[in-house]
Each structure stands twice: as structure tokens, then as C-alpha cells.
């Protein structure tokens, strides 16, 4: 197993970072209200990042989770207002044999797809989901309600977890056929929606519902690493330039030591998030994914909260980006199970 990056992977990161640094500016992220269609079009079209992990026979590049992770981490760094995380987790969750129609359109970015998993009151626990699928002619129809659907209001197709005759499965539904209630969100850079289904036509596109949750965990983990790294860099830059008591804040040992501890947390988060991606194809993923989500979102929260504190008054203003990182970190931490819930999952799966 590899833990480093190939030259091609490093090139990919450089390319994506250069593109996002130039185009996904703070002003544009703030103006996007969660979705910058032009940015998305160019990411999919010019950079082709939507196609990375999709098999070549479905129009993709046949790369791996690692390449997707690189883009996700970079997306986290700029709080990308585009449905990259949603589409790549959906693409990874479906069974290629069942989703041969969908994958080429995912690869070329012509459809926005997202996973609809959580349910009101039942949260992220598959065993408690009540959404049902029934056979109807060649296909299925879906009934139920899904909540916290990331990018749910801009998706063209939604991949919904539902139970059919006691068997859980993933069903693709056209957005035009369902009722969507967009939410305002604490994190203004990624919106969520509530989706309601009443006898909505659907097609079976996958069977592994638990893996869909794990993919979201891992994706949020690596994205959170990007959030944490960018927030830490912002803070380090501030401390090196801002003067107090006649010297840069970076001279104060109490602050230096806290920054060092944040860096340690970010390193650990990076390691656990990337470990999860490296074992995405193995049984280990069932534990590594929730563990990565726990460790990385905790680190991102710690870094972004301390970032506000270390910036002082300016960090508490709307105009400074510190709060955007903090809000994304907060959302990523609370969605898909908080730390306590994730520890329960891990304990059960590891037999602790």
C-alpha cells in the first residue's frame, strides 16, 4: 500500500490548487450562496475532476479515491461552492453495473447528483430509515422523506437510500419528480435541502447503503483536512504579520505553542483521513471511515475555533473568512453523526 503521492497526483493537486486559488476567491465564494454554476462548469469541463475515479468504460479516467481525495482536500481549502463532494460520493456509492446510464453523465459533469441518506428523527442510522421503495412496472417508486441532503436543491438526480421488501438499496430519482425544500444553513457555503417523495419513479442503482454513509464520512474527513489546513495557514499568516506590544504576534510563546498543537492535530487528521482513502477498497474502511470523520472534523473544529480566537476582534467579523471556515467545520462535525455517535459506531464495529 502506498502512502505517498505519485508525480501525477502532485501535478493534479497543483493544477487544482492553482485553478481554485485563482477562481474560487473569497469574494466569489461569498457571492455564490452555495453554488457557483460557472465555477462548477469549468471544474467539470476544463479540469475534468468529476471524471477522475469513474471507470474508463463509463467515460471516466479510471483513477482512484486518492485523486478524488486530492480534489476534495483542495475544495475544502477554499470552501468550494460547488457540489463536488456530493457528486463524487454519489458516483462512488452506486454500483457501476446498475448505474451505467448515470456514470457517464456524472463523469462529464452534465448532471449534479447527491446522496439522500439521513431522515428526520432517524438521523444517519441506516437501521432507522423508513423511506421505502416499491416495484412498479420495470422500475420502482419511492415514498418517504430525506433530510440534510447536501446540495439537494441544485441536484438533477438524487440517489436515495430506501428499503424494498426489507432489502436496503440506493435508488436514483429525478429532482424534477420530488418535492424539494431548500434550507438556509449555518454554513453559507454549502446548502442543504429536505426532500419528500410520494410515489416518485426511481431506478435501483446500488445496494450498499452502509458504504454510502462511509463514503460520505471519508469525503467529509478529507474535505475537513483542507478546511483545517487553510484555516491554520490563514492564522499563521496573521500571527506573522500582526504586531502587538511592538512585535509580531508570532513572537509570543503562548500563541506559538497553541499553533504547534493545532499543527499536530492537523497532521493527525491528515493521516487518518488519508488512511481511510487508502483502504477504501478493503474491509478496514468500515472502521477507518467513521474514525477519519471523527478525527478530521474534530481537528478542523479546533483549528477554526482557535483561528477566531487568535485573530482577535477581526476574526469575529463577517468580512474576515475565519467564520466561514469555522461554520463549515461546525457543519461537517455535526452532520452524519457527532463524535459520540461515531465512537459508538467504531466501538461496535471494532468489538471494543
Amino acid at each position: 500500500m502506498e502512502f505517498g503521492f505519485t508525480a501525477e497526483q502532485t501535478d493534479l493537486r497543483d493544477t487544482v490548487r492553482a485553478f481554485l486559488t485563482r477562481h474560487a476567491t473569497s469574494a466569489r465564494v461569498r457571492a455564490a450562496d452555495g453554488f457557483d454554476a460557472e465555477l462548477w462548469r469549468r471544474l467539470a469541463g476544463e479540469l475534468g475532476v468529476t471524471a477522475l475515479a469513474i471507470d474508463e468504460k463509463h467515460g471516466g479516467f479510471g483513477a482512484s479515491e486518492v485523486e478524488v481525495g486530492i480534489v476534495l482536500e483542495e475544495a475544502g481549502r477554499v470552501l468550494l461552492p460547488a457540489p463536488y463532494l456530493s457528486t463524487v460520493t454519489a458516483a462512488a456509492a452506486v454500483d457501476p453495473a446498475l448505474a451505467a446510464d448515470l456514470l457517464p453523465r456524472l463523469a462529464d459533469g452534465s448532471v449534479i447528483v447527491t446522496l439522500a441518506l439521513a431522515e428526520p428523527g432517524a438521523g444517519w442510522t441506516p437501521d432507522r430509515w423508513a423511506c421505502t421503495a416499491r416495484r412498479s412496472g420495470d422500475g420502482y417508486v419511492l415514498d418517504g422523506v430525506k433530510e440534510h441532503v447536501l446540495d439537494g436543491a441544485i441536484a438533477d438526480v438524487v440517489v436515495v437510500a430506501a428499503v424494498c421488501d426489507g432489502e436496503p438499496g440506493l435508488y436514483a430519482v429525478r429532482a424534477a419528480d420530488l418535492r424539494c425544500t431548500p434550507h438556509d444553513t449555518l454554513d453559507p457555503t454549502r446548502r442543504q435541502a429536505r426532500l419528500e417523495f410520494e410515489a416518485v419513479p426511481a431506478s435501483l442503482v446500488g445496494r450498499d447503503v452502509r458504504r454510502a454513509v462511509e463514503l460520505l464520512w471519508a469525503a467529509l474527513a478529507v474535505e475537513s483536512v483542507g478546511v483545517a489546513r487553510a484555516s491554520l495557514e490563514l492564522t499563521v499568516d496573521y500571527l506573522r504579520t500582526r504586531q502587538q506590544f511592538g512585535v509580531p504576534l508570532a513572537h509570543f510563546q503562548a500563541l506559538r505553542h497553541r499553533v504547534a498543537e493545532l499543527a499536530v492535530a492537523v497532521e493527525a487528521a491528515t493521516s487518518s483521513a488519508w488512511y481511510a482513502l487508502r483502504v477504501a477498497g478493503t474491509e478496514e474502511f468500515t472502521i477507518a471511515a467513521p474514525l477519519a470523520k471523527l478525527v478530521a472534523t474534530r481537528a478542523a473544529y479546533a483549528v477554526t475555533a482557535e483561528s477566531i480566537q487568535l485573530h482577535g476582534a477581526i476574526g469575529f467579523t463577517w468580512e474576515h473568512d475565519a467564520h466561514l471556515y469555522f461554520k463549515r467545520a461546525t457543519a461537517n462535525r455535526l452532520l452524519l453523526g457527532d463524535e459520540v455517535a461515531l465512537r459508538r459506531v467504531i466501538a461496535a464495529r471494532a468489538g471494543l
Binding site: 433530510e147 434550507h183 449555518l186 502587538q244 512585535v247 476582534a313 467579523t317 463577517w318 467564520h323
Partner: protein, 391 residues
């Protein structure tokens, strides 16, 4: 020994009854709409109505309760002041507009001001006919008062003030600002400052609201461009500003702490209620953390009672820093607990921020304003370990 012998049960029942009755009789009619407004994250709400409410408070003698009677106060005991806070918080009295004058400027004038200044300014604070704001923090000074760069120069009968202040709450409603300004650029940093009282309504002053992470604007930037104030509007001598301002900062965290805790208790109750609604309450791990928050709140109260009950010097010392380092992080953790109480729904903000979200976001400032955690730790360390050069 200055014992507070009517605390903790604060059995001054008669005084409490009077406060309660007055609030019950007066926080009604148009003022009923103010209940719960103007608190953290909502300081911008209902300014006009809250101004009239302040007039009512002033007319009834509730402003300046703890000032000596010679200065127009009631000479109320600490316990009575706490009772007023408690009862005011209990009924959800609106966030105060006059508190900068009442709790920061007035004690400063009583300690350091001239008789003329006391006569000129204290009555209008007590009557709530003039509101005040605080001009300390600057973009390049932060918590470091000694680094203030705003300049004031004497020009005949006036001081002319030029510079920029930030983190100035309620500047847009204030009639006056107490400003820390550098009047002697050649003196050592702490010796070159003066404490000036500057009228806000003049061409040389511009107030720009700062939008905070809550999306609302409780704080402002204030730009002084040759703003003037009469020569006599200086508290203490020129060059005394640091000493005068440091005294005022300490007053800020005085008796108000105990009253504040009733507000905290109400917030904690709401967090428990939210957890019952979401099911988080049934999670032993969540509940353990919540009970620890309750324990922390009791400790805040024990700390405040002990501090009030034991002798202190003329100017408060490190007790204020200890108190701030106890309550500010505690309150911040309460904000985090509120979010986990609500659960994933706390990521949604339909119709604006929820109480939990407002608490969560607003408490990020608690550890920054009014002397950051870092400044408070410096103060305590100076006392324990001796002063050393900063950094």
C-alpha cells in the same frame, strides 16, 4: 470585614419584592415586546423602544443603584444590586443601552473625575438621557491599551481627536464616547495617554457598523477626524489615561457578574430543554457533559460570592481576570453544548439563527472582548510570576 451577609440566599425580600413589582408593573404594554430582546447577538434590535424603556428605568431610580447617594445613586448593597440583576434577567428584561455609562464611565468619574464632571455627566446617565460608548480598542492595538495610536492635541479651548477605534458597541446610539487617546507621543507608551469625553454628534466623527459572524452588527468602527471636545472634558490629568482606563476596565467585570449568571442559568435550562426535545438528553455521554456545565455554573456563582465576600483593594486586582477566565470559556462551551443538544438540525438556519446558534456564535467573542483570555492570563501570571517583558 466586608462580609456579604445576605448572600447567597439574598434574603432582602423587601427589596426583591419592590424590584419584582416594578418590573411586573412596567415591563408591560408596548414594552412587553422587548422581553428577551437586545441580548448577545441582538443588541441592534428595537433601539427606539429600548431607549424609552431606559428612560423608565432611570425615572424609577434603577440606574446607578450602587453609586453613592452623594452622586445621585441609591447606595444599594452589593446584594441588592445582584437582586436587581437577577430579577431583571428573570423576566427577560431587554439588553441595556445605558450600561456603558452606568458601569464603566460613572465609576471612573466617581473615582477620578472632577466635581464638575460628576455634576455634568452622572445625572444624565442615571436618567438615561445620554448614552455612552467606549473608545479603547484600535485596529492595531487590540487588547493592548498601551499601544493606542489615536491622537489628541490641545488646540486652544478644545482637544482635537484623530484616529480609529473598533469593537465599539452601541456607538451608533451613543451621545458620548470615552476615548483613550495619545496626547504625548514622546512619553513612554503608558504615560502618554489621556482619557477624554467626546460628544458623538459632530462632523469629525463617523460610525461604521461592523458586521459580525452572526450576520448582525452590534459593534462599530468609529473614525475620528479632528473631532473636538472641550478642554475640560478630560478625566484625570493629561498622561493619566492608562491608569484611569485600567480602573474602568476592571469595573466592567464587577458585580454585574453575579447578575449575568442568572442569564446563563436560563440559557442552560434552554439547552437541557433542547436536548430533551432532540433526544440528546437520553445519551449518558451528552448528559455527563451537560451536568458538568451545570457544575461549572455553580462554581461561577461560588467564585463570585467568595470574591464579593472577601476584602479587595481600592482597585480590583486579578480577581476580575480569574472571573473572566472562568465565565468566558464556560459560556463558550455552553454554546457548543447547545449545538450538540440540538443535533444535526443545528446546521440549518431557516428563518435566521436559532437561539442555540446565536449562543454558539456569539460566545466566540466572550473570550476576546473586554480583555481576551490571553490578556487575562498575562495579568494573572504577572501577579504570580512577576512581570517580564512581553513575548
Amino acid at each position: 470585614m466586608p462580609a456579604v451577609d445576605d448572600i447567597p440566599n439574598l434574603p432582602d425580600a423587601e427589596f426583591r419584592r419592590r424590584v419584582r413589582e416594578w418590573l411586573a408593573a412596567n415591563l408591560t404594554g408596548e414594552f412587553a415586546a422587548l422581553v428577551g430582546s437586545g441580548g448577545p447577538g441582538r443588541e441592534h434590535e428595537n433601539i427606539e423602544l429600548r431607549t424609552r424603556w431606559e428612560h423608565e428605568l432611570g425615572a424609577a431610580g434603577w440606574i446607578g443603584l450602587g453609586w453613592p447617594e452623594a452622586h445621585g445613586g441609591r447606595g444599594a448593597t452589593i446584594a441588592q444590586q445582584v437582586i436587581f440583576f437577577e430579577e431583571y434577567a428573570r423576566v427577560g428584561g431587554p439588553g441595556r443601552l445605558s450600561h456603558m455609562g452606568e458601569y464603566l464611565l460613572a465609576p471612573t468619574l466617581i473615582a477620578f473625575g472632577t466635581e464638575e464632571q460628576q455634576r455634568r455627566f452622572l445625572p444624565s446617565i442615571a436618567a438615561a438621557t445620554e448614552f455612552w460608548c467606549q473608545g479603547y480598542s484600535e485596529p492595531n492595538a487590540g487588547s493592548d491599551l498601551a499601544s493606542v495610536q489615536t491622537r489628541a492635541v490641545r488646540d486652544g479651548d478644545v482637544w482635537r481627536v484623530t484616529g480609529q477605534k473598533v469593537w465599539t458597541s452601541l456607538a451608533h446610539v451613543a451621545d458620548w464616547c470615552f476615548v483613550l487617546a495619545r496626547t504625548d507621543p514622546d512619553a513612554p507608551k503608558r504615560r502618554g495617554l489621556s482619557y477624554l469625553l467626546v460628544p458623538m454628534d459632530q462632523p469629525g466623527i463617523e460610525v461604521r457598523p461592523i458586521t459580525q459572524i452572526t450576520g448582525t452588527s452590534e459593534f462599530n468602527e468609529v473614525f475620528f477626524d479632528g473631532a473636538v471636545t472641550a478642554a475640560e472634558n478630560i478625566v484625570g490629568a493629561p498622561g493619566d489615561g492608562w491608569r484611569v482606563a485600567t480602573g474602568t476596565l476592571a469595573f466592567e467585570r464587577g458585580v454585574a457578574t453575579l447578575g449575568q449568571q442568572l442569564g446563563f442559568a436560563r440559557e442552560l435550562d434552554e439547552v437541557f430543554a433542547a436536548a430533551r426535545a432532540s433526544g440528546a438528553y437520553d445519551d449518558p455521554v451528552w448528559r455527563d457533559a451537560a451536568v458538568d456545565a451545570w457544575v461549572g455554573l455553580q462554581t461561577l456563582r461560588h467564585q463570585a460570592l467568595r470574591t464579593l465576600g472577601t476584602p479587595a483593594g481600592d482597585l480590583p486586582g486579578v480577581e476580575a481576570s480569574v472571573s473572566k477566565l472562568l465565565w468566558a470559556p464556560w459560556h463558550q462551551r455552553l454554546g457548543e453544548l447547545a449545538m450538540t443538544a440540538v443535533g444535526p438540525t443545528a446546521t440549518l438556519a431557516d428563518g435566521g439563527l436559532s437561539d442555540a446558534q446565536r449562543l454558539f456564535l456569539y460566545t466566540r467573542a466572550d473570550t476576546i472582548y473586554g480583555g481576551s483570555n490571553e490578556i487575562q492570563r498575562n495579568i494573572i501570571a504577572d501577579r504570580l510570576l512577576g512581570r517580564v517583558p512581553r513575548s
